[in-house]
Every structure is written in C-alpha cells, then in structure tokens.
Symmetry: D2
Subunit: 427 residues, 4 copies
C-alpha cells in the first residue's frame, strides 16, 4: 500500500475506508491480495448491478477481444455498436413506447450530463437549468453547477452559474410543497429566475443520501415542465439499469423524460460506457458538435448488449422487487431494535439505507461492517446515511448474510453509544 | 447502416466521412463487414499509438479478464493499479527526474483537464486560466472554456468564462512576438487580465491544425510562468505517449510542466484511461474532492502497464524518429510537386500534415484516400489540414503504402483543381 | 411632444402613461405647459418625499449656487460635504445608536447597491448574494443580478450570476415558511447554495408590488444572518427617508443592518445623491477602489443637509403615521365597496396600494386618475398594483382630494367591468 | 477634516492628495476654507470643461430653480428636456450628419456605458464585448468587466465575464499591429473568441495613462467592425465635449460610432447628466427596459442646454487647439530640460501629460504642484503619468502660470533625483 501513498494523489478516497488491496472479483464477492473474501454491498457505486465479472458477459467480452474486434472507434460505425443500438431499441425502448435517439457522449456519466445540458440549451435557446438540493450529476464544470454538495462545488474554484437549485421532494420540512414552490418561481415574472431550459433530476438521489421522490411528485414535475415548455431530464446513471426494479427508475411514475442519461451499469461489466437518450425531435445536434475520444468503446458495447438479455422478460425486475422487500423489512427491523440510534429507513428497490440523526453512527457502522468483510458505504451531505447497494444479482443467501452483518454492526455501535454517553458528558 | 440513421443521434461525425461498418482491427489495419481492408493513418485520433489490438497487451488483457481480476474499483486499491503506478514511476517518471503524483480523474481526457483546472485554481486561489488560440482540451464545460474552436464553444449554450485565449506560437503573422504579448498582459496592471492561475497548452496542437510550438517558445513560456508564479500545464493527451518521439512531447524543449494531462494512448489498447500528473507539492486535494465512477478501470491499467514495456529503452522512440523523417520528406516532396495546391508541411514526430490555402482541398484528398482504403482525417479551424497520424508501430512498408495513397490523392485532386479552374471562371 | 418622438430613445416609459409636457412643480403639484395642474401621488417614485422644490431647501440651494460654492468635487473635502456628514451623524445616526461610515458611491441608487455588493464580497471573500423575489435594486449589471423582474433581467443580454433569489415574506402561499426555507438552503451542505456573502432586501418592495415584510420576518432574517456570519444589507432607497414613517424603514423591526443603501429622497430636492452606510469594522475599502465622477455632488449635499431639519424631532414622522392611517382606511373602504374588483390593500406608511386579481384593472384606474389630473403609477410583476406614493408633506386636503379621485376611478372601472362581462362571455 | 476621518468611508481618495477643505470655486480656481486660492489643472477629471460655475449657465440654473421648474421628472416629458433635445440635435448632431437617438440612462457615465452594453447585446443577440487594455469605463459590474485596471477589477469580488481585453493602439511594443491582432481573433474560427457584439473604446484613454489612438488606427478599427457586423461604441465621457478640440473626440478620424456615451462635462456645470446616443435603427429598446431614478435631472438639462451655446461656431474648438499647442510645446520643453527624468509627452487637445519611467516621479511632482497651489493628478496603471486637464476655458495667463508651476515642480523633483541617487546605491 506504500505504492499508493508514494505515487497516487491525495484525492483518493474509498481506499481510506477500505484499507486493503483488491485482486479478484466474482459475483457478489471480492478478494484482496491476502485472499480475504469480501461481500459487496456497494456494487461499484451502482456500476456493477449484475455483479462482478458476470459469466455470459465475460464470455462475450473474451470472444470479442480474442477475435480482434475493433476496440476503439470514435463515432465510426462498428458491428458492435450496431448490435448494441439494435438490442437497446428492441429490448428497452420499443417495448416502453420510446423512440429516443441514442447519443454516445463519452464513456462516463458526467459526459452524458454535459451533453444533456448543451442539448437543452441549444434546443430552447435558454440558459438556466434547474436541478435539486442534494443532487449529484458529476465533477466536470457543467455537471458540477447542478450538483448540490458544497465540498464538491467549492472544488470548482470558480463560481458556478446558469443553474438554480430547487428543493427536492423530501428536502423541506412539512407541510411545504416543493413543486408549488418551483411553480411559483417559474410563473411569477418577478421571481428572479429565468424560464429554465431544463429541469434535471435523479428519481432517487443516491449520493445525496437516498432521497426518494414520490411518484406523485414526479408526475407533477413532469406536468409542470410540459405546461411551460421546459425540457425534463432524468439522470438515471446510478438508479437506472434496474436498480429500483424496472429498467428505468421513472417507469412506475408513468412519466417519460425528454432526455435520459445512463452510464454506470449500462455496460454491465464495469466498463466505461454512457449514453444520452433524447426525444427524436430534440436531436438538433450538428455533426461533431459534441465529441470525445472514447465515445466508441466497443468492448463495452459488447458487454452492454449481452447485459440486455436480462431485460427480455420481467423476471429480473421481479427478482429485484423480492430482494428489495427483504432489505426493507430487515432495515425496518434493525432500526426498530435500536431506537436510541434514531435511524430511519430510506430507499426504493435495491438502493436502501439507514439515515441516522448522528452522522458519525453511519460511518462507524460502515467501518464495523468492513471488519466483518462487508463492503458498504455512506451517503448524504454529512455522510449520515448507511447506503445498501448490493448487486441486483446478489443471492438471497448472501443478501441475508450481509444484512446480518449490518444488524450486528448496528448493535455493536449502539452498544458503544450507550457506553460512551457518560464519557461524552465528561468531555 | 440504417440502424445508425434510425437510432443514433445526428451528432455522429466520423462515420459520415467513412461510410462503412468496421468489424475487425489489427496493427495498422481495420476491416469492415464486407471484409475490405483499410490502412489506418488516423490511429483513433491518437488513441492507438501502438496500433490496433497489439498482441502483448491483448494477452495481458485476456489473462486478466479470464482470471476474474477486479474490473471496476473506483479508487480502492487494486493489484492492477499498484502495478501500473509502479511501472509508470519506474519507466517514465523516475528516469526523467520527475516525482509527480498520479491522479485518476476519470477515464477520459476532458476529465484530466477539468481536474487540472480545479487543482490550479485551488492551489493559487485565482480564477483565470490562459489557453491558446486553436487549442483543443475537451467538451465538458471547463475544458470547453479553454478550447478555441468556435463551433464547439457555441455548443455550450452559455457564455464560457474564467479563461483567456492568447496567441499560440504560430498564430500571429510575423514579426509578432506572442510570448511578449502574453507577457505584456501579465505585467501591465491595466491590461484587463487578472494574474492567471494556470497556463495550459498542447506542444503540438492536433485538432487545431497541427500547429507546432517551437522549443524556444516553450522555454520562454515556462520561464514567464515561473517568474510570475503561474502554474504551467501541458495537455499531452494527443501528442504524448510517444507521438512526437519521446514519451512526453515537451521533453526536447527541456521544460517540466507543473501539471500534465495524459489519456488517449495511455492504456495502449484504446481503452478509456486518463491521468493528471502534478508536482507533489501541488497535491492539495481533499479526499474525494474530485471523483468519478470509472476512475478505477483495471483492464486499462493492465494494458497500460504492458504498454510501458515499449519505454524501457530508447529503441521505440528512435524508430518513431526514423518514420517521422520519412513522412516529412515525402510530404515535402508531395507539396513541392503540386505548387498549385499551395500546401505547406506541418508537424513534429508522427503527427504531420499538409495545410492547404483552400480548405476544401484537404477534405477532398481525405475522401480520395478513403476510396483507396486509407483512413486519414482533416484538422484545423476550417478543416484545412490533412492530418497524418499513423500508429507509431506502423511498418515501414505500410507507411510507404499510405504515403503513396496520399501522393496519389493529392495528384488526383490537383488535376481536378486545374481542370475545374475554367469552370470557376464560368460561374 | 414630437421632439421626444423624433429624438429620444424608445426606452422612455412614464411619458407614455402621462402624455403631456411638465413645466413647473411645487409641493404636491405639477403643471404642464398648458397650465393644467396635476396632483402628485407618485413623488418621483419616492425621490420627492418632501414634495417638489420645498422652500427651505430651495433657498439653501439658491444661496449656495449664487455664492459659487463648489459644485463638483469628486471625493475631495468640501465645506458642503462636511456639513452633510456632520448633520447626518447628529440627526440620524447617533440618535439611533449607529456609527456607520458613510460612502458616496456615485449619485444614484444602483451605485449604492453595487458598492454594497463589492464590499460584502471583499469582507467575506465569498461570491453569492441572496436577494428576494420581486426585489428591485437597479439596472447596472451587479444590481440587475439581484433584481427579480424578468423583463429587466433579460435586458442584461448575458446570464446574471453570483446571486440567488429566495422567497420574500409574502411570496409563497401559506403555510410555507420562507425564512425556514432560506435556513434550509444555508444549513444543508448539499443544498447547492454556497454560504452567501450578503443578504440584501427592501423591507417594503415598492417596484415589486408593495410587498411588506413583517417585523417578525425581518428579525428572524437578521438573526439567521448573524448566526451564519452573513452580512445583511437593507436597500432603503425607495422606502427610507421617512416613507414608512421613521427615517429608516427597518427601525420598528428593531434590527440594524450591516450595510444600508440610501438615495432617492436623500437630497430632499430630487437631486442625484446616494450613500452606502456600513458598520465601521466593515470599512475595508482601499482608497479609490470604487469611484465615480459625481460622487461629490455638492448642491445635493446642501439640500440633503437642509432636509435633515425635518428629523430633529418626531413630528415629521408622526405626521406621516397619521396620513398613512387615512390612506389605509380609505383604500380599505374603496376595496370593500367593489368586491367584484377583487382588490386587496397593501403597504406600510405612505407607500400603500390596491392589488387587483386582474392586472388590467390597475392600469385602467391609473389612466382614469390621470384624466382627473392625478398622477399615480402601477407596480408589481404584472403591473397589478395601484401604487399610492404621495409626497410625505402632502396636505390633508390634497390627500383626501387624491383619494377621492382614486375612489372615483375605481368606481368608473368597476362599472365598466360589470358592463363588459357579458361581452367577455361573447368572445 | 476630522469629520471626514470620523464619518466618511476609507474609500475616499483625492482628498488624500489634496488635504484641505474646498469651499468656493469659479472659473479656473478653487478656494479652500482658509481662503487659499488653487489653480485647477484637473477640472473635475473632465467634468468641468467650461470651468467652475460658469456665469451664463449659473444664471440659467438660478432662474430655473427660482421659478420652480420641474427638478426631478424620471422620463416624463418636461420643457427643460425638450429644450435640451432640440438644442443637442440642432447644434451637435445635425451639423455632423448624425441622427442618433438620445437615451437618458441615469445621470452618470457608468449608466451610459451599461446601457450601451445592454443595447449591443440585445441588437446582436451576442454576448462578448471587446474593450482595450487600460480602458476605464466605470465601476458598476458591467462597466468594470470592460475596464482594464486590476485593482478596480478585483474590487468586483467576482470574476468578470463576457468581455475580452485587446491591445490598445499604443499598448504593444513595435512592430506589433494591434488591429491585425484583433482581426486575427475575429476571423480565425479557432481563436477562442466569439464574434463580439460590440467594440467599445476611448479615443484617448484618460485614466489609463493618456494613451492616444491614432486616427488611422481608429479608422481601421471602424472598418473592421463594419466588415464583421460588430457594433462600435465610443465612450467619450472624459474626452468628449470638446476636450480634444472638436465636440466629439472621434471627429477628426472621420468615423461615426454606432453608439456614443457622454457624461462628465455634458451638463457643463458639474451636475450629474449622461446620455447614450445610438443609431436610430439600433433603438430597439422596450419601454422601461432600462431605467433609473435620476434619468430626468432637469437642472442639468438646463445647464447642458446653455453649455451648447459654446458650440454654435468653431471659435471654442479653435481656442482649445491654440491652448493645446501651448501645452504640448511647454511639456516637450520641460521633458527635454530634464533628460534624467526620462519623461515623454503624451496627449491630444487639452488632455496631455508627462509619462515617467519611474512612476514615483509623477506623484512627487503632483505633490510639489499642490504645495504651489496647483491641482493636478496622475494617471496610468502605476500612476506614472502627470495628467494636465485644465478647464478648456482656462485663460492663457493661467495656463502659463500652471505650466510654470509644473516646470518648477519637475525641476525640484529632478534635483532630488540627482541628489538621492547616491543614497539609492547605498541601500
């Protein structure tokens, strides 16, 4: 680990929580160089929905490489891209009544978001983009302007503009009406907010602390945008590709966004890949107006095409729902067992978590889990949420194992809480 | 090809110049679905310096995947990353007397540039970044602000700020002194330019039209920056990794930038990978202050490590020099043979080209080359430069083949130029 | 009037509502070139609180000019400026326990506001300024960024930044809590709002539609700012200098802003003059860091000094209160007499008005008043508020006269409303 | 003077150079409270071209006030405004073949500039404004963005955008071609500069150090703008109204700007007044799109109308030329007499000065002049220019007196320079 200390930048982060060197990974598990096995409730922050190195994708990938398929193609036509486009249309878009065009904006989420911002501004001729409190959309300057986290924003080193942060569904204390609030700003000619080009959101805010927008809220938002000619984009980078059950997280709300950003689990194998989907009438790009060296990453097309096999029936989605219920029940149980921990259960599908009033609880529990060889991270502006993000393909057995470890860790920290309280008085 | 027309966004670009579907690639060649073989003088816009699917890298990659090495790791420690860091230090940095820290800012060039901008602003507490006319640094909002091309810039849809474009070495007509010009702006308290945080440049502007900065110019720039406490970054994304001969393009100028951005050929296999290198005392990042889902792309670490085997001696670099000379001589010959085409030779190392007074010549020649199954693109603000970018590993035979095709295409278009001139009078 | 049509820019505005040429003015009245007398319920949009050409000020002004007092002095010391500074301290600041420093930022309100913005950013080292919905702070770029009106904002022609618009006291529908809202944005590390340098507000929004902040709201805002080290500025340009009764509009709320902007009625004679007051510890300006040609407008110092004679006792303030009550009662009566007009009474002190659900009512009533030789304007984002702004020195007789004209005009338009309703059905 | 120390902000500046309290002023002279007489070679930084309190204007002003003419009118029609518009058209615009519309943007120069910026952006739909090194256009945020001085710019506290600073005529060392430079940036599609909405300049930069643009440079600039559909604005705030001889400073260059800003000496009496003139086809303002409380300052209309009497023949202008020659000759003589002072003569008309290699010379000479009761200031980014700006109406006798004082002060400081040189060696 000295190598990292000596040669890698101080910006590295996850390695500080999980101080070991990982070597191998399969399904729900990773192994470090010492051979220790870790159960993964983190799934590459949503990039490994199908688990590590899933066999069918691996076979397709190995074949492709072995046969010297084109690796890097920019935006020339390739056989692998054609197959992906066709399969995505057939399995995902057409069955959902969508005819969105597919743009390859570069292989990462922030590229997909930056492309969405450009497109919305070009189509509408307007500047302002509305995003939401505790949103996370990426680290490049355009995406950062619509990201809520103050530490990340300050990293920009310049003021971030042309963006307005509005309260997310669960942000304000009751009985506030956050859609009504946004509506007032849009409709009042003296509000100080220009008519936005775009409203962009995550239906479940992952990094922001597992904040879930209700379907009603999403519907009202969609209608509000339609009524005012504002484009609506869903950044489904972290909670799309089945994380909440259906392929797109917005499906159960019955809305269809004008623009959709996908990345993370899109390649299905942890390989960099991203797309920006747009209603065909919005596809006003000039050729090459947005580009990027790795927008034609063919090995990722290959695994992404194979990953779509999971979506030819509802089975995969149904399984996620069953597992989600298990998680929800266990978390409720755990929270209930330790009222002194003041934890609440949050989430939808297989992104769920425990939010603690005292943010330090979450990180201490995560650390305790790591000691039991469970990888789990925290989220939220103060890291106050223990965030469960197992691979969607996690076996029921491993799911229970992981939840047991979580339960044990909560119990351990809860015991410490009681124990340390007198100490705290002493300070 | 209907699939692309139907499902892919209008933003696609290269496929319009090369209307076929590529399937397979090896070394200097690609093959389309019909089995037609194409000679590659494009090299993934600099991402394939070692050619397509080079065997030693391919073997390492297949082994890694077959053995279920960790694919996706964010910024946790992995065996593959350790190996890459160690090898990069040993083969590249240490021998050059550099102790720069390595940051993985996300797997694409624009991520590396955005990280450089953030870092420079954080370190200096200043906003302004100086870039140069005809610079190309990327498509996300921060990188776009320091990119010269007006069509790309307008794509932003918002004004781009905190950046000032200064004349590149070859931009102004003689006898102007572009360093003196920048110096005046820095030193005159009424210039309207704040003291910059950073000066960022490509030593050879690739997209901008193969504009080459002289070593003297680079040295004066480096000294100017040092004298005023301005950081200097070289974006070596397109012309690093041996494109001009040495590993870094700035080596023969005898300068050492404070910050260096690498991507494109870094993975050696066309896989997405990027790094931002920074002097150790500049590494003031807070953990996670900049992040990104695909900053730990281990298959790319594996091929990148293998690619560094090319740099253990000077042989590879020397070979590039020999080939560069061949290209330079042939281009000079071609330009000289057709004075009516008003072409000048530009470039350094294996990025060379012919700049035409009439921009349409370049695109017509490129098209004629494609008809002869040579892939070659144009560059420059008006696409006026025919840009030769063969893999560095191109065989001498193939190099001559390609140059013959270029010569033939120039001859063909030159013939047309003479032929059509009376017509033009007739219009 | 052809002269104006031929030579003056189309930007002229009030003259379109009041199509005549004014020649003479005294007290509550103006006369046009035809000798027609107009009663003034407009008072130069708050610049003529003491009426037109008040005698004591006029005498002081004539004397000063006759004796060749310095007219224009930039920021050199003059006898007239010394007298004003001394008198302002003695009559206004000291009795209120304030030791604010006085800055002459240029002679108009927007200069005073721009200076406040600069100062707050310099003191705190932060960028963001919070302003409120329907705020009006001026037309230069800095002030425009904190002004709510969308038509005015679009006039900028560039995106306006470094400012965030928050809901004013009366902006949101009940039961929303606008201070709680602002608090959430300040305190949540993921809100997307940086910690502001400054919160700036009008205690009564005049242009914005006579929106009145409650004293409780002002107190909570002041406390919130203190708790977070955010500076608080009151723009008292339109409703200071006695408009609401006391000299400063914020006095009855028991708060003392860190920065205060005054202009309009400050000179007491309609002459351009403005000041920015700041807590002494905030006075970190470097000499000349902000300047302006007319920051030493001595005739205005002379009349401003004379105007302060009104403030040596509470008599003036008490009179305003009495008249305010008269206005409030009559407006309530008028609104009550015509429920079909759906009017509500708004305001505080001698800035009061009738807000109509149908914005066209307000402009039609104002037009009808003009026909009866009463000058009265509308306000609000849709011009939906009839805004009564008589000189504070208006005689009781003239006040009643004016209110009678308003009552008659409302009656007239109300009659039309009933009459036209069937027509509207017919459309 | 304690009053100022106690109550006035630290931002005050001129009073630090001239530590006395002025009380009375007439023609070329001021008197302080002690009765000391000062000769004025400063003229309110160009606001007092006709001297202090000129009699004909004073009479017109006193009459107007005595008769209760309207003082404050916003943009309603008044008799005084009509007279001014008519007289300006008759005496200034029509004889010069100009039919520019007159806008009253507020009474100060920076208001006039901000209005010009808005208009140009609205007309063209573009953002970028080109200004020049060492330009001074005002202190509000829009004007500050096109002002060169770094200390003033930093006062903004936010990055200044949508503006690009280009080299002024005399900025670059020979043999650079600053128009050619601007042209390259406009014409090269990769320059990183968007096509500007507006180019704005002073024909003689006053605050910037008395930098004079040659007529040829102005003509080439005007042609360049025309060729590219860029609007051209001359900020004639400091050097218009006869300062260089003709009414507008650009007349001898034979160009007619699309937009012209005037203020300072426009009222002729030191009263705040400003106009923005625009070609009639550019007058696309919506009513009230730009406004301001003091845009109808009638006493200033009255004096401004009277001041135009100076422009009914060429006599006034001719007199300025004669005096200019006197100043030029004496300054050349003075500079020649003290080669050790390394001074060069700069200027045009009655704005001339001595630029010193050692900036401290200029301030020391100005201080020595003050000791001899001559008011004279310094200019330039380092205060390196002694700036002579007498009233245009200065008598020949007083002009010679003042020049004698300057000569004596230079001699005195020159003596000190020789004397202290050994000391400097000793340090």
């Amino acid at each position: 680990m000295d190598i990292f200390e000596q040669h890698e930048s101080a910006v590295r982060s996850y390695c500080r929580s999980w101080p070991t060197v990982f070597q191998k990974a399969k399904g729900d598990h990773l192994w470090d160089e010492a051979g220790t096995q870790y159960l993964d409730f983190f799934a590459g922050a949503g990039a490994l929905n199908y688990g590590h190195n899933p066999e069918p994708l691996k076979r397709a990938l190995l074949d492709y490489i072995e046969n010297d398929g084109v690796t890097h193609s920019l935006d020339t036509h390739t056989t692998a891209k054609a197959a992906f486009l066709e399969r995505l249309h057939e399995v995902v878009l057409e069955p959902r009544g969508m005819d969105h065009k597919v743009m390859f904006p570069g292989p990462t989420g922030t590229n997909a978001v930056e492309a969405a911002l450009k497109l919305a501004r070009k189509v509408t001729g307007r500047d302002t983009v509305v995003s939401f409190t505790n949103a996370f959309h990426g680290m490049t300057l355009g995406s950062l302007a619509i990201t809520g986290n103050s530490m990340k924003r300050q990293g920009a080193g310049v003021p971030l503009g042309n963006a307005i942060s509005m309260p997310y569904d669960s942000f304000l204390e009751e009985p506030s009406d956050s859609i009504g609030y946004l509506e007032s700003f849009i409709e009042d000619g003296g509000s100080g907010m220009e008519l936005p080009a775009l409203v962009i959101l995550e239906t479940v805010q992952a990094e922001g602390g597992i904040n879930v927008a209700s379907f009603g809220w999403l519907q009202r938002l969609s209608e509000l945008c339609k009524r005012h000619g504002i484009l609506l984009a869903v950044d489904d980078i972290q909670v799309g590709c089945g994380r909440t059950g259906p392929f797109f997280s917005f499906e159960p709300a019955g809305i269809t966004p004008d623009i959709i950003c996908l990345s993370k689990s899109l390649s299905g194998y942890g390989l960099p890949l991203a797309v920006t989907l747009m209603r065909p009438d919005l596809d006003v790009w000039a050729p090459g107006e947005h580009n990027g060296t790795f927008r034609g990453h063919n090995p990722a097309f290959v695994t992404a095409t194979a990953a779509l096999d999971n979506w030819t029936s509802d089975d995969f989605s149904d399984e996620v729902k069953v597992k989600s219920q298990v998680v929800g029940e266990r978390l409720t149980e755990i929270a209930g067992a330790h009222p002194e921990m003041k934890a609440t259960v949050r989430g939808r599908g297989l992104i769920q978590g425990l939010a603690f009033e005292d943010p330090s609880h979450a990180s201490r529990i995560a650390r305790a889990c790591f000691e039991e060889h469970l990888l789990i991270e925290t989220a939220g502006p103060d890291g106050e949420v223990l965030k469960l993000l197992p691979p969607l393909t996690v076996t029921e057995e491993h799911l229970e194992q992981g939840l047991d470890i979580v339960a044990g860790a909560v119990e351990k920290i809860a015991a410490g809480v009681e124990a340390t309280e007198p100490e705290e008085v002493g300070r």
